[in-house]
Amino acid sequence: MLEQAFEALKTYKWGIDPKGIKPIQDAVVATHGNAAARKELESKLAAALDTDIPRAAKDSVCRFLKTIGTAHSVPALAKLLHDAELSHMARHALQTIDAKEAASALVNAIDKAPKKIKIGIISSLGARGKDVPVGALAKIVADKDPEVSAAGALALGALGSPESAKALGLAKVNDTNKVAVCDAMLQCAESMLAHGKKSDAKTVYGKVLSIGPSKAAKIAAELGIKASA
């Protein structure tokens, strides 16, 4: 059944019944706890990404690798990151693969990515959190494109670390990225509060107020200052 399903992948275009590739999903579940079988399954899936199977097939392979992918799959997925059609689904897997290599692949793809794809990669780094270097995102917050800068800010906010707050404090704020920068700083301050660092949080809330925030962010910062007392 599994062999037939991999065969079905070769012609799996939009409109083909997903039942033909369901045995792969079944194998994803059935191989839990069986390292050898998992490795074999992952290898086959990663190899499939390096072939000319249809887009819908590669899309599905990325979905399977989201659950079982390891560092072994990262090179095959990383190759798709600059592909306008497949970048998103490659991130679908890389965002959750619990290996430093996955985070590195995302970081390394940023510089040469076109704007829209770049924003997607940055978004995945923020959502991923683990193994993401603050420095890479700090550089993005300083990007002259305000939409890219906003994406970097939100990713730093998702990390919520003191280092993130420091990087955000250096951001050049404009009308396009202001909502994102303020929200990111507020997230960092919340994280500080959650760790009992009231004074640090209050400082960050104060910084939000000092950059001329929107009415919403001003309310949020004032709420935060009360909570920091």
């Binding site: 409109g15 997903p18 579940v29 794809i117 997607g120 978004s123 995945s124 919340e190 009415k215």
Partner: protein, 404 residues
């Protein structure tokens, strides 16, 4: 009330005068009927205005405290129909239409929005709405994934926003069960069973010619790209392949769609609205799998337990002292509750945190069924215990350029 709202209304009048039309101000606009004066009205817009949005639009439009000013939808027909209804209600042409919801959220004069898009948009719009200072009423199910929940609650709290879910059935449909649980006549309650489904499925429908009416990129939004197909985006209530409610990328299927109602009613009845389960036990009776979701206080919600009826409550029938049943604020059902809370800044009956705790039940159950194993959930950390693979299923990457 916000000065920006007054500013908008006065600038509308200025625009009318500039165009040379006689400026006839209806007495209602001056607050001479039973409507509040314009400066005291809640200025609203609607995002996702067909299907369920149509009913919500009607409800809000008919509220005297509301001034409805904007509509947004990926389908032009639905959007224009809503504009026409709004304009007809007020006897003017002032309702603005937007193809991009961000243009509604960036309007400073708008206080609140209601959202009735497909589920894959809910978290994105709620979070962005809060960041822009909007109060939000969102149709159920409020989240598509487990991981979206805490982000939505945190953002609502960060900005001090009123965010209400949209299941009117939680209070309405299970009244008898809720009353007997809360008034003590059931005695000590230990469990409740919910029968609902199915789970959503992968979608690989063939491409079809895309009608001019729909902005397909905007309809898909943060969901994976896929070719247009009328069944993929149909708003019908089917969960068996004929609507977006059937498919993983846009919905949890009946499990979350009707599940938002049923699990909402169940968590209300047994009063675990403030909690999330900490154990998800996959079990089997006569070859039929079912899930038991266990709470730290000993309460258990079962899903599709063979031989057990819908909303069947496990109890000892030893009469105990009752407690007051929470109810809507204001008048006019769940939308009236939202409007009242926008004014008072109190938590609505379906506060976003209750909704997210409700949605955690079907999301957790779905992950257990998909992985075919029992799970333990740390609700404080919002992660599974010793199951990194299950953790991977909490979130999905958003299609570029969408980010929360």
């Amino acid at each position: 009330m916000k000065t920006t709202r007054r500013k908008f209304l006065s600038s509308s009048g200025a625009a009318t005068a500039a165009l040379g039309f006689p400026s006839i101000i209806p007495s209602s606009a001056l607050g001479n009927d039973d409507r509040p004066a314009p400066s005291n009205r809640i200025v609203m817009g609607g995002i996702g205005i067909g299907n369920m949005g149509r009913g919500d639009h009607r409800d809000f439009l008919n509220k005297k405290e509301v001034q409805y000013v904007a509509v947004c939808d990926a389908r032009k027909g639905a959007m224009n129909q809503a504009k026409d209804k709004t304009d007809a209600k007020y006897g003017n042409k002032d309702c603005k239409t937007y193809a991009d919801y961000r243009d509604i959220l960036s309007r400073d004069d708008i206080d609140a929005v209601h959202i009735a898009t497909p589920d894959h948009w809910h978290a994105q719009m709620i979070i962005e709405g809060c960041r822009h200072g909007k109060d939000v009423f969102c149709q159920k199910p409020e989240s598509l994934t487990l991981g979206e929940g805490s982000l939505m609650v945190n953002t609502a709290r960060r900005y001090g926003r009123v965010v209400s879910g949209g299941s009117q059935r939680v209070l309405q449909d299970y009244r008898g069960t809720v009353e007997r649980c809360w008034n003590g006549s059931f005695g000590k309650v230990s469990s409740i069973n919910v029968n609902v489904g199915p789970m959503s499925q992968p979608c690989n429908l063939p491409p079809e010619n895309q009608p001019d009416d729909i902005d397909w990129e905007m309809w898909l939004g943060p969901a994976p790209w896929a070719p247009y197909n009328s069944k993929r985006c149909s708003g019908s209530y089917s969960t068996s392949g004929n609507s977006w409610r059937s498919y993983i990328d846009y919905s949890g299927g009946g499990m979350t769609d009707w599940g938002a109602h049923h699990f909402g009613g169940a968590t209300f009845a047994v009063d675990v609205r403030e909690l999330q389960p900490n154990k998800v036990v996959l079990d089997e009776i006569d070859g039929k799998k079912f899930v038991s979701l266990k709470y730290s206080n000993g309460i258990e919600i079962t899903h599709n337990k063979p031989g057990v009826g819908q909303m069947r409550v496990g109890r000892d029938d030893v009469k105990r002292e009752g407690k007051e049943i929470p109810k809507y604020a204001g008048s006019g059902g769940i939308t009236g509750d939202f409007i009242d809370c926008v004014k008072t800044r109190k938590k609505p009956f379906r506060d976003v945190e209750y909704c997210i705790n409700t949605m955690a039940v079907p999301h957790l159950a779905t992950i257990a069924y998909k992985l075919d194993r029992s799970l333990e959930w740390d609700s404080a950390k919002q992660q599974f215990i010793n199951d990194a693979e299950a953790d991977r299923l909490r979130n999905r990457a958003r299609r570029e350029p969408w980010q929360i």
